[in-house]
């Protein structure tokens, strides 16, 4: 979807502000929101692309006015509400009010290390040859799906060069809807001036990682 999360090149953002000796979390609630989000994926059963869509699919004003972990929290609440793991009146009341929906599994302390070590690899076995090879010129398609995508707006319609093949990976656009549909994944690099016009920096190249169906041969 075309949302406020798709920030590449937007002109309104101001200078980057590094924070010296930044703590890992800035409040206790950030710690808990972070951990609850990681832990709930197991009983919740959603995948990373469903999580990303739940975070980004909100009005720009809402997305931009929330802090990072507030967005995580809003995304988590949405995923849990959609699956009826919790209800709005329970959040308001601060306690369970309805029967508990059974879940397949939960995260126990002795499962934490293995869950983190396992991660969520997205590479799958190739069942067809790659359409493109290193050096090929490709155009990023002009698409505006209403659902989740990982093709940022600033490269759509622009011509770049295939620079790496990464094998076949789960396709986020469909994975956010519950279907892995793995595709070949490439790193595609673009010249600064191709993306930003004569004001672009000719000594800069920018790459994105793009699934095969995001690209067309030129």
């Amino acid at each position: 979807m075309d949302g406020a999360h798709d920030m590449g090149g937007v002109p309104w953002s101001g200078p980057v502000q590094p924070e010296p000796n930044e703590p890992m979390f800035h409040a206790e609630w950030e710690r808990r929101a972070f951990a609850i989000t990681l832990a709930m994926a197991m009983p919740g059963g959603w995948n990373i692309d469903m999580s990303r869509f739940a975070r980004e699919d909100r009005p720009p004003g809402d997305y931009l006015s929330k802090s990072y972990y507030q967005i995580w929290l809003a995304g988590l609440e949405r995923l849990m509400l959609e699956r009826k793991l919790i209800a709005s009146d329970e959040i308001e009341a601060g306690k369970p009010l309805h029967p508990t929906k059974p879940v397949a599994k939960t995260l126990t302390p002795d499962g934490v290390a293995s869950m983190l070590h396992r991660g969520g690899p997205t590479e799958r076995e190739a069942t067809s040859p790659a359409l493109f090879t290193v050096g090929d010129r490709v155009r990023a398609r002009t698409i505006h799906p209403l659902t989740h995508t990982r093709l940022p707006r600033y490269v759509r319609g622009h011509i770049g060069t295939i620079e790496m093949l990464h094998g076949v990976h789960v396709f986020p656009d469909s994975n956010s809807l519950g279907q892995e549909n793995p595709q070949w994944l490439y790193t595609v690099s673009f010249d600064g001036r191709e993306l930003w016009g004569p004001d672009g920096d000719a000594s800069v190249k920018i790459s994105v990682d793009a699934w095969e169906s995001y690209l067309e041969r030129v």
Binding site: E19, A33, R55, Y68, I86, G94, G119, G120, E123, T187
Partner: protein
């Protein structure tokens, strides 16, 4: 920040609970009572990222690559198993690519769409990495970003920006500072800053860690 300021913030956080803080507490209570989360597992997740997983891991990878050319070659060829040799692997680092800086090429990593970052080697991303200014500016004006961080690259250095739009995670291998011949890996690792592995900074110089 002075001790006084710190104490003030501490008191403030605990005396006026924000709406968000109350909401998170409510959620944790509900989810715990329903049996969906175990608070001890939450504590362990937090402890892991506050104390075990962080940029010191990546610094060890970089120092090993500086000290051992065979390791450097393995890292640049296929970073995930090379990094795993040092025991770092897993969530948000399932597929890692290492990017070598040279006198002619400077690499910088961003995630314009959210906050993708190589957790096993760098830990959780800092606020600026997740902020609108960095996510918007890195792909359009990377030299401006470096200026925001207070440095500029020598004339003639090209910049390559990597937008982490898939599950590939990128780790910058910065250039080894001169004057460090014969240094141990441990000592070299002290030169490696988090930002130098993102591409928004450079390693420390030997005199800075004397």
């Amino acid at each position: 920040m002075t001790g006084h300021d710190h104490d003030h913030h501490h008191d403030h956080d605990h005396s006026e609970l924000s709406e968000t803080e109350l909401r998170v507490r409510a959620l944790e209570t509900i989810l715990t009572e329903k049996g969906y989360v175990d608070p001890a597992a939450l504590d362990l997740l937090i402890e892991t990222y506050e104390t075990k997983v962080g940029p010191r891991n990546g610094a060890r990878v970089v120092a090993r690559a500086w000290a051992d050319s065979g390791y450097r070659d393995r890292l640049l060829k296929d970073a995930t198993p090379a990094i795993s040799e040092l025991g770092y692997a897993g969530r948000q680092g399932e597929h890692i690519v290492a990017l070598e800086n040279t006198p002619h090429l400077h690499n910088m990593v961003v995630c314009t769409l959210c906050s993708c970052y190589p957790w096993p080697v760098l830990g959780l991303p800092p606020v600026w990495y997740k902020s609108a200014p960095y996510r918007s500016k890195a792909v359009k004006d990377p030299r401006g970003v470096l200026a925001d961080f207070g440095f500029e690259l020598p004339e003639g250095t090209n910049i390559r920006v990597w937008d982490s739009t898939a599950e590939i995670r990128y780790l910058v291998l910065p250039m080894r500072p001169s004057g460090t011949d014969g240094w141990s890996e441990e000592r070299l690792a002290d030169l490696v800053t988090r930002d130098s592995m993102i591409g928004t900074g450079l390693p420390k110089q030997p005199h800075e860690i004397a």
